[in-house]
Amino acid sequence: MTSSPDHLPTMARSSLSDRLAPYGPILILVLLVVFGFLAIPSMSSWLTLTVSGLAMGMMIFIMASGLTLVFGLMDVINFGHGAFVSVGAFVGVSFLLLLQHMTGAPSLLLNLTALLVAIIGAMLATGIMGWAFERVIVKPVYGAHLKQILVTMGGLIVVEQLIIVLWGPEEIYITRPEALKGAITFAGAALEKYRLVAVGIGLVIFLLMRWILRHTKIGLIVRAGVENGEMVEALGYRLRLVFVGVFMAGSALAGLGGVLWGLYQEVITAHMGNEVMILIFIVVIIGGLGSVEGCFIGALLVGLLQNYVAFLEPKVALISNIGLMVAILMWRPMGMIPVVKAK
């Protein structure tokens, strides 16, 4: 028996809005799709726009997921993330060009194998690059946002220039593997095959990340380490190792995103990664820094909204993403699913 006083806090019933709050982001997504359905007169257009919007969102998610991981877990603002996307694309495309006999053949299996090889190659390359990046560039500036912005920006420039030195300044044009060209028509709507592959890969990545973050300690160690690294070390974890690992994983994800994005664009340049950075940042921010789920939903929202708006009122598409971000931040100033709650 101990003599601790019983302390039972007074609990009040939580209201409906309190209980609905966690599902808010999903609800918005659903509402958006319904809105699209009501606003778009043609059923087939709606289907085309919805599916391709979701697929676009999925590609953005893959590119953004690495950033949100590094950003949210390690509190590192990596403006150089775009460089990894570019490098991923260049390495991946180089592999695909080497495997032209496989990509040129009209066999889905051969095509996908080639794609897989390209992806693995790109992820390895960007992963290793991430290791170097962390060692040389990011390590001295943990905890200092501003310096991170600058240093990673410097890294971005250097990597872009190195790409130019290695691959030359010209844009490289490529075509998708044979079996991934064209679209499947379904109920009068054209669903691009390539986008369907992107949806598959995106889902796998999402589920995998979720599982790792929920069921292993890595997420905890990193989040705790950002707040108080000394204490995590004093608990017995080799924080540096974990940080490097997470950074490499984030970079490899960017590389994967780069391959997919490069194949989607069918043209790659050294600056391609940086050009999507604003979009990626928007997704990461509206999702809530560090939240994989938020990033996922945010990316889908962006993809869908962009398509709907561009269809309904192209002028507005100029600012639809920015508008979305501002609106979401007004509603939830910390993003849709904030990971960092206490202060």
Binding site: H145, L146, V151, G154, I164, L329, P333
Partner: protein, 353 residues
């Protein structure tokens, strides 16, 4: 007296003092020391960027506010002068109206953004400013009838400020005595004035509050400072100063365009200048702007010399070729943050302790 002028912020390091005096002398006498279109242009740009960077440092280094919209304010000032010159005709009144209007618009916009979004976390504020800045850039591009769109605007400034106006014959030390010279001294004088003013603000009681807010805004509020008001105030001041820098730039260039005044690239340059020089030390702006603008203008030339010297070796000339100057600028980026974590000014002052 001098200390008063500098608001009590003496360089506190002999090396720094020498550097600053050197820069001051070089800028003050630039047209005579380095006659030549390019070098005088570089000097003028250094001046303008000193104002821009110092105004940014006020917000960032002292206010602890990260904003990506600073070039937007810069652009507003520049477009203010450009539009006034286009519509009011050629005259000093147009310059004045343009500058004042630009500064006012910038401050107002800063006020609105600040009021709405300075309550959210710093990083979100940064992103919101980024969004607003890109929205403004889109707007400028869309309103091409007024702003010239991507092509920008060419316009005429008072004849007294152009090379065509010769107020005396002949040259002094290679400098032609024409309106361009007057234009340069207009820029230089304004820079000096604005810089000293900013220096004073930083060392005023207001500046101290800013510092406190940057350290711990929660506690600053608890000892009686309305954090939001101070943040909004500093954003406005900083925006107005940036707009003035933009006006000076517009007067100097006689051209404005989105790439020249609104691009994110300039924003990053400014950030870098602040950090190289030393955040939260007004003098850092001077050092940072000087070094960076010089590097931007002359790194390429320097590299082509180096690359010529290395022809024949494998890969190296390719890496050092003048076309790869950006690569080395990037390396400079990284190294400067690495070796001058507190900026050059911070480093110099520290060594003395």
């Amino acid at each position: 007296m001098l200390t008063k002028l500098l608001s009590g912020d003496t360089p506190r390091s002999p090396v720094l003092a020498v550097l600053l005096i050197g820069i001051l002398v070089c800028l003050a006498l630039a047209p005579f020391l380095f006659p030549g279109v390019r070098s005088v242009d570089t000097a003028a740009r250094i001046c303008i960027f000193i104002v821009l960077v110092a105004s940014y440092d006020l917000m960032l280094g002292y206010g602890g506010i990260v904003s990506f919209a600073h070039t937007m304010f810069f652009g507003i000032g520049a477009y203010g002068v450009a539009l006034a010159c286009t519509h009011l005709g050629r005259g000093f009144d147009a310059l004045l109206v343009g500058s004042v209007a630009g500064a006012l618009v910038a401050a107002t916009l800063a006020f609105v953004i600040g009021l709405f979004s300075l309550r959210v976390r710093a990083i979100f504020f940064a992103m919101i400013t980024l969004a607003v800045a890109s929205a403004v850039a889109v707007l400028v591009s869309q309103l091409s009838a007024i702003t010239g769109g991507e092509d920008g605007l060419n316009y005429r400034i008072p004849r007294e400020l152009t090379p065509a106006f010769k107020f005396a014959d002949g040259q002094i030390l290679g400098a032609r005595l024409n309106g361009k010279l007057l234009n340069y001294y207009l820029i230089f004088g304004s820079t000096l004035l604005i810089f000293l003013l900013l220096l004073r603000i930083v060392h005023s009681p207001f500046g101290r509050v800013l510092q406190a807010i940057r350290e711990n805004d929660f506690r600053a509020e608890a000892i009686g400072y309305r954090v939001v008001y101070y943040r909004v105030a500093v954003t406005c001041i900083s925006a107005a100063a940036a707009a003035l820098a933009g006006s000076l730039y517009a007067i100097w260039l006689r051209y404005v365009g989105p790439d020249t005044t609104l691009s994110l690239e300039i924003m990053i340059d400014v950030l870098l200048m602040v950090v190289i020089g030393g955040m939260g030390t007004m003098y850092g702006a001077v050092i940072g702007a000087t070094i960076f603008v010089l590097a931007q203008n002359y790194l390429q030339a320097l590299m082509s010399v180096a690359s010529d010297a290395l022809t024949g070796l494998p890969v190296l000339p390719e890496l050092i070729s003048a076309d790869r100057w950006l690569l080395w600028l990037g390396v400079l980026f990284i190294l400067s943050v690495y070796f001058f974590p507190t900026g050059i000014v911070g480093r110099l002052r520290q060594r003395r302790r």
